[in-house]
Symmetry: C2
Subunit: 132 residues, 2 copies
DNA sequence: GGTAGATTGAGACTGAGTCTCATCCTACGG
DNA sequence: CCGTAGGATGAGACTCAGTCTCAATCTACC
């Protein structure tokens, strides 16, 4: 089920992507990050940005948020399980946890006899600042 | 915020799409539905399928599920607010409700002063049948 | 029947994301 | 210190869901 521990080398590109991620507070698409890097003078291929971001997501180093257009955005988050409250207008993101939700999900899964159950849960709204 | 009540006419194409939806138990992509119709002899343009499905989704007549690849799938569901438990293997779908989740979402939104808060929540797992 | 306006569909187009493959770079052993 | 194996990179072709255009067609209604 898991790869033979491919060595994942620390390259200039990966470092750059990692830094771009650290410097951002909210979710950013691969293209956003690519642009940021280009503007910062770092030459990194778009394919590399996609590959790296995906790898980091699989490794649990970043969170992925599926935007409305199906576009994936990435963010450096806390490592513990959590969800997000995102402003539809400015993208401001707040990490939230919901123990009640977690146990509810477990119960539902058990009740319907589903295994390996995961869940996706995100909240979208308009933050106080964006309401003028 | 809403359209000037455009008349939404019942055409052959819309009827066909509606029937295809009724005949399916699980979520189907626009392309799936288009294929089904073509095979059934109904000639309906792909653009029309997309347009109709979107319109129905906006009107709350069908539910939309964002697949992993960002692909949207549609399903005829109950009209009351609910979520889905979907089998990753065969697509079997169960509608579930979680009052606890709803109130939790409200509380979180209030706590962080976000308005017009909506949420997306889906559960994915492997159903009993698919586990042999 | 006649007309305004909604609807349709073939095909061009968009844009996110993936693939290819020749080249580059890192890690590591001698 | 090299030298090499195999991971990493990137330009550009490519895929594919979904959107747009616009002339032709269909509906509702008088
Ligand atoms: Zn997060
Ligand atoms: Zn905001
Ligand atoms: Zn199943
Ligand atoms: Zn809900």
């Amino acid at each position: 089920m898991d790869e033979p521990s491919t060595t994942l080398r620390p390259t200039r590109q990966r470092r750059a992507i990692n830094e771009a991620l650290q410097g951002a507070a909210d979710f950013q698409s691969a293209q956003d990050i690519h642009d940021t890097l280009r503007r910062a003078g770092e030459k990194v291929g778009l394919a590399t940005v996609y590959r790296t971001l995906q790898a980091m997501a699989e490794a649990g180093q970043v969170d992925v948020l599926q935007g409305p257009g199906g576009e994936s955005s990435y963010r450096q988050c806390s490592t513990e399980h959590h969800h997000h409250l995102v402003c539809r207008s400015c993208g401001r993101t707040v990490e939230v946890t919901g123990p009640a939700v977690e146990s509810w999900a477990d119960a539902v899964a058990r009740e319907h006899d589903f295994a390996e159950v995961s869940h996706s849960l995100e909240l979208f709204g308009i933050c106080a600042d964006c309401r003028t």
